[in-house]
């Protein structure tokens, strides 16, 4: 096989995620593509967790619908993931013989004809290595041997993690890996293998999560103040910047609440430094009033929303795309804002840079709509692509000539007015959440409110023109299109490839800029399209309804494929949606 999906399921203490991390890193070192999705139960410690890893020499866009190779430490824990871990026909399943569940009670579909192999993971770790915690490393050795994964790469990854700080731990882990490997050679016939035939390029790749990528992108774009409040699944952004931003001259504050997090950032940006905050849906809800303040006061600001399943607390550890209306329409009043949606891990980096570019250039709050599926997954990335696109990030500061009778909110053709920062003599002004004159003085004049609303809105078409990036995949001249946004891109992209292999002409259209709608670019992408399916993980079909309400260029026949989130979008369900509509398209026309 050149494209293998494996999953490891166990309880929190089993080291499932660590094992998964090592596999991904090993693949990255060989120049292979890898993708890992972590999944947890709600427990802080213990509880169930799973790592789902896909490895290929071809580009990987999704988590893979079906698992070829499964390792189960505990059937009870695995039973919680049967929703998301679906096995392929004839998959290989290794389970710990220490688990006393009788085989007839294994939560596995008998019709799949899987090959079940009992392995003494726990016993080997306890009795031979004498460290029960190395169970995951024994499993890693078994997996590596059965899949023909590069063992040296795994060992490198182990050394990187433990080598410097805990050399003894590194040694023990490597012994455990070797033990797993020899167990396979001694106990399993040659036929029991799912050999990964993919050869890497040999050029090592990077491994990054989406949360790290957005944080790193912000750092690269020059963020100087980050303020955040812990929330799943956005906390890794706070943690990344807490660790690294001081090295680059910045400051991070973990604030008392979500409102303080956004208002610290607003204060810092008003004072002249690039600033960002990050949260997830419930936290964003608390920030919205302040977002409106940044809007009317025209203060550059970047806000990341790593969406999770809502409403309210919802399912904090899982993904959904249902904060779109909140991003586009939340906050009272007609607030100018920009909404950008990254579509994979690398894109999280790019979008962070783009967000600062727009925020600073146009003095406007920018929301990055990531999600748990992007934020918490790991992907391999080519190092060069990250910095391929150059953006010069700078604020349009007032010139000396502007400072005579300075007008902070001067009416201009672009809607962007020269901004001063403290320390600029003659640059003092009053700003507020109040509607104002050009010089910032408050007003309750309706005429002025109209004029200022127009001024602020003038930025939007310019942003749509300049930053309105729309990705198009598949057949350029297809009459059938799939419209998707954000993390749905992966499954959609694979689905259209599958559809095309089956002879269906189809393309996928994925805008990166969600608000304002990049109309011209979307028009161009939809040229010749007679029928479209809008695919998303939102029960209320928010993207479909949003496009219907805000965009005139949709084909008359536009359908919605929408369901609630939590379970990742599958390639197969998108393919089915494509076939449904393609089928109708190919049906004979009635006279």
């Amino acid at each position: 096989m050149r494209d293998v999906t494996l999953a490891i399921a166990g309880s929190g203490g089993d080291g499932v995620i660590t094992a998964g991390d090592f596999i991904v890193q090993a693949a990255a070192r060989k120049g292979l593509n890898a993708f890992m999705l972590k999944s947890y139960g709600p427990q802080i410690r213990g509880g169930e967790s799973s790592a789902r890893i896909r490895i290929s020499d071809k580009p990987i866009y999704s988590q893979g619908d079906y698992v070829d190779f499964l390792v189960v430490f505990s059937w009870k824990d695995f039973a919680r993931f049967t929703d998301e871990i679906q096995l392929r026909q004839g998959a290989v399943v290794l389970y710990d013989e220490a688990d006393s569940t009788p085989p007839e009670e294994f939560p596995i579909d008998k019709d799949l004809g899987v090959e079940l192999i009992a392995v003494p993971f726990k016993k080997m770790a306890s009795e031979e290595i004498k460290v029960p915690l190395t169970k995951n490393m024994v499993a890693l050795g078994v997996i590596a041997e059965l899949l023909h994964l590069p063992l040296d790469g795994i060992k490198d990854a182990v050394m990187k993690k433990f080598g410097k700080r805990k050399p003894e731990a590194a040694q023990v882990n490597i012994e455990a890996i070797d033990l797993g490997k020899s167990w396979v050679n001694e106990n399993l016939p040659d036929g029991t293998q799912i050999v990964l035939e993919a050869e890497g390029t040999g050029e090592p790749k990077l491994v990054m999560t989406g949360d790290d990528a957005v944080a790193y992108g912000a750092l690269h774009a020059g963020v100087k103040v980050f303020s955040g409040y812990p929330i799943t699944p956005a906390s890794p952004i706070l943690e990344f910047l807490s660790k690294w931003l001081p090295h680059f001259g910045g400051a991070v504050v973990q604030t008392e609440d979500e409102i303080a997090a956004i208002t610290y950032a607003i204060g810092a940006s008003w004072a002249g430094k690039q600033a960002m905050t990050a949260s997830s849906g419930p936290g964003i809800a608390l920030k919205l009033e302040a977002l409106g303040l940044a809007g009317i006061a025209e203060i550059p600001l970047v806000v990341v929303n790593v969406q999770r399943v809502g409403p309210s607390t919802g399912i904090p550890s899982k993904s959904e795309q249902a904060d779109l209306f909140q991003a586009v329409g939340g906050t009272p009043g007609d607030v100018p804002r920009v909404v950008l949606a990254p579509s994979d891990v690398e894109d999280n980096f790019q979008v962070a840079v783009e967000a600062f570019y727009i925020a600073e250039k146009y003095q406007i709050p920018v929301i990055i709509l990531s999600d748990q599926f992007l934020g918490e997954r790991s992907e391999t990335i080519d190092p060069e692509v990250l910095f391929a696109r150059k953006r010069v990030i700078s604020r349009q500061l007032a010139k000396p000539s502007d400072l005579k009778d300075y007008k902070r909110y001067k009416l201009t053709d672009t809607g962007v007015s020269p901004m001063t920062v403290p320390g600029m003599k003659g640059g003092q002004y009053i700003t507020s959440g109040l509607e104002h004159y050009e010089d910032g003085r408050p007003t309750s004049s309706g005429t002025l409110h109209q004029i200022m609303s127009e001024k602020r809105a003038r930025k939007l078409p310019l942003i749509a023109e300049e930053s309105g990036f729309v990705r198009v995949y598949g057949d350029e001249d297809a009459e059938l299109a799939v419209l998707a946004w954000g993390s749905s891109k992966g499954a959609v992209r694979e689905a259209i490839e599958k559809a095309r292999e089956e002879g269906i002409k189809v393309k996928a259209i994925v805008p990166q800029l969600i608000y304002p709608i990049p109309e011209k670019k979307l028009d161009a992408a939809l040229k010749g399209v007679k029928r479209a399916v809008v695919v998303e993980l939102s029960f209320g079909a928010q993207f479909y309804r949003y496009l219907r309400a805000y965009y005139d260029g949709l084909p008359k026949e536009t359908y919605s494929y929408a369901r609630s989130g939590a379970n990742p979008l599958l390639v197969s369900e998108v393919l089915e949606a494509i076939k449904e509509h393609a089928g109708a398209m190919n049906a004979p026309q009635e006279a």
Binding site: I266, G267, P422
Partner: protein, 286 residues
């Protein structure tokens, strides 16, 4: 060349003042402008952040970088500004509703972080901008538009709260004594850390002119017998029932500030590992 001498007039703006005639906040505005002049802060180096309420309009009346923000959020915005630009003087201002009701959480944590800003609260014991509802410092039993049967709640004691939370500069002023208030603001601004000044600033419209007399009759100016570095003495003063303490109640030095801590962290981080550019950080992902 002699530096140009700044006067209170240099801190006036053209923004029309919306306060009622006789409002206590005029005294606070004068005191702030005089303090800025005395400290000779160039207007472009002064940032004045306020929340929402009658008193929060003050940010527009001082020639500075003024920011009349949203309800209750003056302190985190001021803290973010100070963190970004430690070389600037940052004042935060607002009312009792803004600071002790909707913004209480920030009051608590700004004290905890000892952000180097001066926070002036114009405490008039009423919501004035919304025309007369009960506030967190309205005395028990008082009749307001939202307490037609008398205020059922006991008032909050901001001075005692600040002291318990570990504030490093706590003072109380009176808008009827501008000179005294000016000195409190000057001292507070010179203080390295969070300087909290509660100002008795009567609302003549909804609490009546006699509020000035209440402060005049019950106000006691702290003299040399009060040692502001003595926590126990300070605590006793904050517990006065009839008398209203005026002056510096508590003042201690040497507690690290928000921006100092950030600077120390930067230095420590950069000593540990120096990066030429953000691209060098790629190594951590290999």
């Amino acid at each position: 060349m002699e530096p140009v001498k700044l006067t209170a007039k240099d801190y006036k703006t053209k923004v029309p003042i919306v306060w009622c005639p006789g409002c206590g906040d005029f005294g606070v505005l004068n005191a702030m402008q005089q303090a800025a002049a005395e400290l000779a802060i160039p207007p472009e180096n002064l940032m004045v952040v306020s929340g929402i309420g009658c008193s929060s309009r003050i940010a527009g009346y001082i020639n500075a970088f003024g920011f009349n923000t949203i309800h209750g959020r003056a302190l985190p915005i001021a803290s973010g500004a100070k963190l970004a630009r430690p070389e600037m003087t940052v004042w935060a201002a607002g009312g009792d509703g803004d600071g002790y009701s909707i913004g209480t959480n920030h009051f608590v944590h700004t004290i905890r972080r000892n952000a180097d800003i001066t926070y002036i609260v114009m405490d008039n014991h009423i919501y004035g901008l919304t025309k007369g509802q009960v506030s967190p410092t309205t005395p028990h039993g008082d009749y307001t538009k939202s307490t037609p049967m008398g205020n059922p709640d006991r008032p909050l004691n901001p001075l005692a709260l600040a002291l318990e939370l570990g504030a490093t500069y706590i003072a109380q002023g009176f808008s009827g004594n501008v000179k005294h208030l000016r000195d409190l603001i000057v001292k507070g601004t010179q203080h390295k850390g969070f300087a909290f000044i509660n100002v008795k600033s009567p609302c003549v419209t909804f609490r009546g002119r006699q509020e000035f007399n209440v402060v005049r009759e019950h106000g006691v100016y702290l003299d040399e017998s009060h040692d502001p570095t003595d926590w126990n003495q300070a605590h006793e003063v904050t517990q006065w029932k009839e008398k209203i303490p005026l002056g510096v109640i508590y003042h201690v030095h040497g507690v690290p500030t928000l921006d100092q801590i950030a600077e120390d962290l930067r230095q420590k981080a950069q000593e540990q590992q120096k990066f030429e550019s953000s691209k060098d950080l790629l190594e951590i992902f290999r």
